[in-house]
Amino acid sequence: MIDVLIIGGGIAGLETACSLQDLGYETVIVEKEKTIGGHLNDWDTLFPTHRPASEVLEHYTEETRKRALTIYLNTYVISVKKQADGLFEVQTSRDVVFHCKSVVLASGYQLFNAERKEEYGYKIYDNVLTSADLEKRLKNLQGEFTTPTGVSPKRIAFIHCVGSRDEKSGNHYCSKLCCVTAVKQAIHMKQICPQADVFCCYMDLRMYGPGFEEMYREAQEKYHVQFIRGRLSEVAENANGSLQLKVEDTLAARPSRLQVDMLVLMVGMETAKSTELFAQSCGLECASNRFVKTKDHHIGSNQTNVDGIFTAGASIGPLSVFDTVNHAKSAAFAVNDYLKAMK
C-alpha cells in the first residue's frame, strides 16, 4: 500500500514527493511526459532574478536522485476511485493499478492556444511568437538573435493578456504571471539586441511579487522599454514579413500604428485539459476559471472537496515557481495531517 500517489512530475509534484518522503511516507509519482520537471524544461530564465531555469531543475533532479523517488514516466492516470474504506484505486495507462491512502494532484496548467486569438495572427504570420516560443528560442540560442524570418529585430512588441482577462477567449481571469514574464523577456531582448526598440502593450501591469516592481522600474530606467497602455486589436503582415499592429495608446487617447519585426504574445495559463478530465472523473469541484477549487481559500488551499485528494501547484490557478514550491510544501503538511488522522 502506497501512502501518497502524486499526479504530475513537475516541480510541484517533485517538491511534494521530497517533503513527504522526508516525513517518512512512501510516495509514487506518475508523470505523463518522458521527463520530470514539467514546464520548467521549456523556460530559459526565471523572473525576477534572470536565473537559468535549468538550475532549479538540476536542484530537483538531484533531490529526486538522493531520495530515490519512485517515478513512473510516460504514464497517465485514467481513473481515480475512492473506495468505501477511504482508500483510492488509481488506474493508469500502463495497466498498473495503484492502491493508495491519498492522492496529490500536481498536474499543473497548460498555456493558452494563441491560434484561438486569430486577429493576432499566430501561426498565420511567421514573426508572431508566443512567450513560450520565445523562451525556447532563447534557450537554444546560438550566436545572434534573429526573428523566425531571419531578421535581426529593430522593433519588438510584447502583448500582455493574450487569452487572459478576455471573455472572448473564454478566460475571464487574470493569469497574473504574464506581466512580469513580459518585463523579464523585454529586458532580455534589450540585453541581447540593444539596438532594438522594445514595446510592451498592457491593460494593467500587475507586479504583485517581491522583486517584480523593481524589475519593472529597471526595464524603464535602465533598458528604456516603452510601455503603452492599450490592448492590441489587430495585426497585419507587410510584404517584408514585418508586422503592422493596431493599438490605441489609451493614455494619449489616440490610436497608434506600430510596425515591428517580431511580436510576442504573452499567453496566459489555463487549467490543463488532463486536470479537467481528472476532476470530472473523481468529482472534484472546479471554480469558474475551470481550475480545481480549493476547499478553503485562506486556510485550506491544498484541500479539495474530496477528502484525501490534495492539490499542489498550478492546478488551483496560475502560480509562479515561488508560489508553486510553497504550495507544494504546504501540500506535504496537509497530507501528513490527513494520514496521521487516518491511523
Partner: protein, 119 residues
C-alpha cells in the same frame, strides 16, 4: 478662435458631484454590460470608422461618463456599427447596443431641450 480642446474660463477639474449623467444613466440602465468597461482601447484600435476618421469610441464613452456631450452627436455619427469592437471587447460589452442607446438617448435629450426652448 482656434479650439485647443480646453478653454481658459471653464475649469478643467472634474467635479463628480456636478456631472451631467443623463445620457450615461440612460445607457447603463438599458445595457448594464457597459459598466464593465476597463478602457483597454481595443475597440478604438480595431474600429473601421476609426480607420477612416478621428472616431474614438473609448474616449467618447469616457466623455459621456463625465457628462461632456458637446461633441457626442457628431462623433456618434461616424460609427458604422460594423461590430468589430463587439467581437474584440475583452469584457463582453454589447458595444453596438451601447452606440445605438447613446444615439437614442442623445436624441431624447436633444428633443427635450428643444421643447423647453420652444416654450
Amino acid at each position: 478662435m482656434r479650439n485647443f480642446g480646453f478653454s481658459t474660463t471653464k475649469s478643467r477639474t472634474i467635479d463628480y458631484e456636478k456631472i451631467d449623467n443623463r445620457l450615461i444613466r440612460y445607457v447603463l440602465e438599458n445595457e448594464p454590460t457597459f459598466n464593465a468597461c476597463l478602457s483597454c482601447g481595443s475597440c478604438t484600435a480595431i474600429c473601421s470608422a476609426g480607420n477612416l476618421t478621428s472616431f474614438n469610441i473609448r474616449r467618447l464613452s469616457l466623455q459621456i461618463r463625465l457628462g461632456e456631450l458637446e461633441h457626442a452627436h457628431e462623433e456618434l455619427d461616424k460609427c458604422m456599427l460594423c461590430g468589430k469592437c463587439l467581437l474584440e471587447c475583452p469584457r463582453g460589452i454589447n458595444t453596438r447596443n451601447v452606440i445605438m442607446l447613446m444615439k437614442k438617448g442623445l436624441y431624447l435629450i436633444e428633443s427635450e431641450s428643444k421643447e423647453k426652448n420652444d416654450r
